[in-house]
Amino acid sequence: MSSWLDYTINGLIVGNVYALVAVGLALIFGVSRLINFAQGSIYLVGAYIGWVAVVQLHTPLPLTIIVVAASAAVVGLIIERFGLRPLQNSVRIAPLLATIGISFVLDQLVMLTFSPNPRALPSQLPDVRFQVGGGTIGPLDLLIAGVGITSALLLFVFLRYSKLGWAVRATAQDRDAAMQMGVDVNRVNQAVFGIAAALGGVSGMLVGMYYNQIDTAMSLQATLKGVVAEVVGGAGNVPGAVVGSLLLGLVESYGVAVFGTSYRNLFAFLLLVVVLVLRPNGLFASARQAPPEPLTGTFIAPSRPVRIPRWALLAATGIFAILPLFPVSFYVLQTFINAWLLGMLALSLTLVAGTIGQVSLGHAALLAIGAYTSALLSLNFSVPVGLAVIGGGLMSAALGTALISPSFRLRGHYVSIATLAIGEIVSLVILNWESVTRGPIGISGIPPLSLFGYELISPTSIYWFSFAVMIVLALLQGRLLGSHLGRSFRAIRDDDIAARAYGLSLNRYKSLAFIFGGFAAGVSGGIAAHLYSYINHETFNTQQSILALTVVILGGLGNVVGAIVGSVALVGLPELFRIAAEYRILIYGIVLLLLVRFRPQGLLGTM
């Protein structure tokens, strides 16, 4: 019994740590309706500034906190001024992509400045421990709890009772109306980003001290857990974020207690999905509260797509079809193979995210389902590879749609977060379901691609195969978009209430979109499995999902040609920047930011 007390205390302690990030995220979401993917990077910057202050400058703790808070706030203000403010009149999804780009840039800057080696960040508090239950807690636990709760309370009071706080809430409710009432919206945004960044920086430093360890990989994890905690508490709800964090910590801790350590994150993400499905506005939303997402689909604003004449498309297809006949290196061909595989994934995502408005952040799960199905079919049941890949596509369509269906009733950001969680869940199930997936050992010796008994092993033949599959999928999708189905999809995206009023069954059409998209992604994963010959649970990770979304936004949401152009660009750019070695991801991030800045509707526009 005493163990349960310990699990509870441990859950609260780690929930404490999540709360620091979640509060910052909640604040920004509350005002800008934006999941700030750069919050984790600010947390990282804060940790390293803290390291400089403590280890190099030997500042005492209060001064360290002030220095970190001030510098992180400056970073936040810079992000707001130069990264996000120019985008405020563009599509709502553009700032989301911008924060992803900013987080690339910040993470890379920290890595280049401080090297990727982890560093020790010594705690400046006395090393005394208090016995609680079977374990102990230290002064840092108390400080973290204090900072988390105090900041949440202060923010709550600030939002409720101060004039600027009212302005913040007014802006959150209706930006245009707030502006008409004379609220300086930019000043409000500045204040919010400054506060959130200061908090993010301090939390990175405190967590670094807590573990006596900081490294450049901590940013993405912090964002993921922070987002989960924030949404559980109710997006934009600051005190809710604290409670959500504690709850998340508890669920993880009890999950470990009952099932073991490797199931830990599974419970975190299951909690998220359950909360989203049962109480989409978070645990603490009152029933009367208006949904935080707008009723109509302003998440994806319409824009005029770039019309590409048919002859140009045919010419481009023709040129890429005969590309291997020219003296190009296998390296170039392989890069294009990667682009075509990513293209299939992007086609899938552009359909569900762009055409029907379900912005998925867990699309790599569909790749993984397709890849594992195809690999296992060909290895365990000796199914010919060509058929196995199709089997992978079908399984991905069926299983993917079934998994995502609970989130059909959600809107806007909530779909993204639910799919993010589903993606993580699939990856963790693959890791833990050892009897089928061989767990972390992965599946090796997957036979190479073959078609009608002929093995496709030269890059040239794989190039043609993947290109042909992608073109067929693209043509099918183009046909689909032109049919009454495509019109219904777009109607649902643009105004789901109007669509329903016209008698469209939302769930049925969303399922159809995911079935088609799931098939394309599953085929892509299947081909990749046979191409790589080895896959494990890390092959198709969150970064892939984020990359796919970036491609889709870059190309133009719902735009079939745009998805392919975006894939070529985002596979090609990092390869082109190889000459820049360690700097290439930095350059990639900057290019991404510039593209969002000047083409927020995507290169080819939303369809």
């Binding site: 990727p116 573990y211 006596n212 990749a528 070695a581």
Partner: protein, 385 residues
């Protein structure tokens, strides 16, 4: 680089590839250009730290090789391509190296998904993939161009089990392992050996690489009532577990795999890693000349920095590459064959390394039983802790 690709590339068949290799041999014979090795590894992304450590080890070995006159009078150099340990990028890099006639063999990648996804390309392209950190049991099964000096876990884990069970006298063990292909394989070998030596495994817990918080895991460990904790971890997560174990009041003996052997383990773990036992392949006071040369050279080149296990793997790998290229010249197939001929290459990890031609791996890793005393790794004196 790309213009060379284009000029020399005859596309299509394997036969054409061989023609490319032949062309490169002819070109090499005349030129005084360095002999180039391709390295595919992470310089950015979540594993970037390991790529950085590889570079340190490579550069030290290359300095020494150059100082000793190079390879038959020619310089040895490498071209490091950043893969982020991502299979999508490592396959592109593989095609790049295979079609670059200047590259005579390849080293890396770091993670199994990235390395083993590229293996078919190296195998078909006839370029040796020398994976010196690839402990996945299936890595060298990718073909006869896959060679590895990674310490086989079938070799290492029984040594650790012997240290924990026979030497330290632990009877009830809690095993915490990274839930990756490496950690999982290691755990299985360790468990098997420990049971043979008569110990009982009371609990095993696998954790993911991004995990930071182990308190709840440690409650499970405590409730299983072990007399020792076995860490199959890297240095950063190993240090975190040790710290949190001491914080929650677990006082059991901790015994860790060689992958924690790094000055960073001491820095990150602080007082908590005092008295932690580590089974390693070498130690600073090791009288073996290759170890002394490595450590002294490393400290000198990197301003007093202490080398760690990954530096040593990379240093050994580069020396092995030099030995192989000395025999095989600049011909890719001859280099593959040279792996079967190369004998007794001085090695920090193995003493002397010779490949077992059947498995394409090296057997017989050295063993040193260390313990952390006063914030330093020291040879264990046999005293209980």
């Amino acid at each position: 680089m790309s213009n060379i690709d284009r000029r020399s590339l005859v596309k299509g068949s394997l036969a054409a590839m061989m023609a490319g290799a032949a062309f490169s041999r002819a070109a090499f014979a005349q030129s005084s250009e360095p002999i180039l090795l391709g390295v595919s590894g992470p310089l950015t992304g979540p594993n970037a730290q390991y790529g950085t450590q590889w570079k340190q080890g490579f550069d030290l070995a290359l300095d020494e090789i150059l100082g000793a006159g190079g390879i038959n009078g020619r310089k040895l150099a490498y071209s490091f391509e950043d893969s982020q340990s991502d299979p999508r990028q490592s396959v592109a890099i593989a095609q790049k190296f295979v079609s670059d006639p200047r590259i005579v063999m390849e080293l890396g990648d770091f993670s199994s998904p990235a390395s083993m996804a590229a293996s078919p390309i190296y195998q078909r392209g006839g370029l040796v993939q020398f994976g010196f950190t690839n402990s996945h049991p299936d890595f060298t099964k990718g073909g006869d161009f896959m060679w590895s000096t990674s310490v086989s876990q079938a070799d290492e884990q029984p040594l650790l089990a012997s240290y924990a069970v026979k030497r330290l006298g632990l009877k009830k063990l809690a095993v915490l392992h990274l839930n990756t292909d490496w950690g999982r394989t290691s755990r299985d070998y360790f468990t098997k050996a420990a049971k043979e030596y008569g110990a009982e495994i009371v609990v095993t817990e696998g954790y993911i690489a991004e995990e930071r918080d182990f308190r709840s895991t440690l409650v499970r460990v405590r409730d299983a009532n072990p007399d020792g904790l076995i860490l199959i971890s890297y240095y950063s997560d190993g240090a975190l577990i040790a710290r949190q174990a001491r914080q929650v009041g677990l006082k059991q003996v901790i015994c860790a795999a060689s992958s924690v052997y790094s000055p960073k383990f001491l820095e990150l773990g602080g007082e908590a890693v005092e008295d932690v036992h580590v089974g390693t392949r070498y130690f600073p006071e090791d009288p073996r000349p290759e170890v002394q040369k490595f450590i002294a050279g490393f400290r000198k080149k990197y301003n007093g920095l202490e080398p760690d296990a990954f530096n040593a793997y990379a240093y050994d790998a580069m020396n092995m590459a030099a030995a192989v290229v000395k025999i095989g010249g600049a011909d890719r197939r001859a280099i593959r064959d040279a792996f079967t001929k190369v004998k007794d290459v001085p090695s920090v990890i193995f003493g002397t390394a010779t490949f077992d031609v059947a498995t394409r791996r090296v057997k017989g890793a050295m063993n040193a039983e260390l313990v952390v005393r006063k914030g330093q790794f020291a040879l264990w004196d046999g005293k209980p802790t």
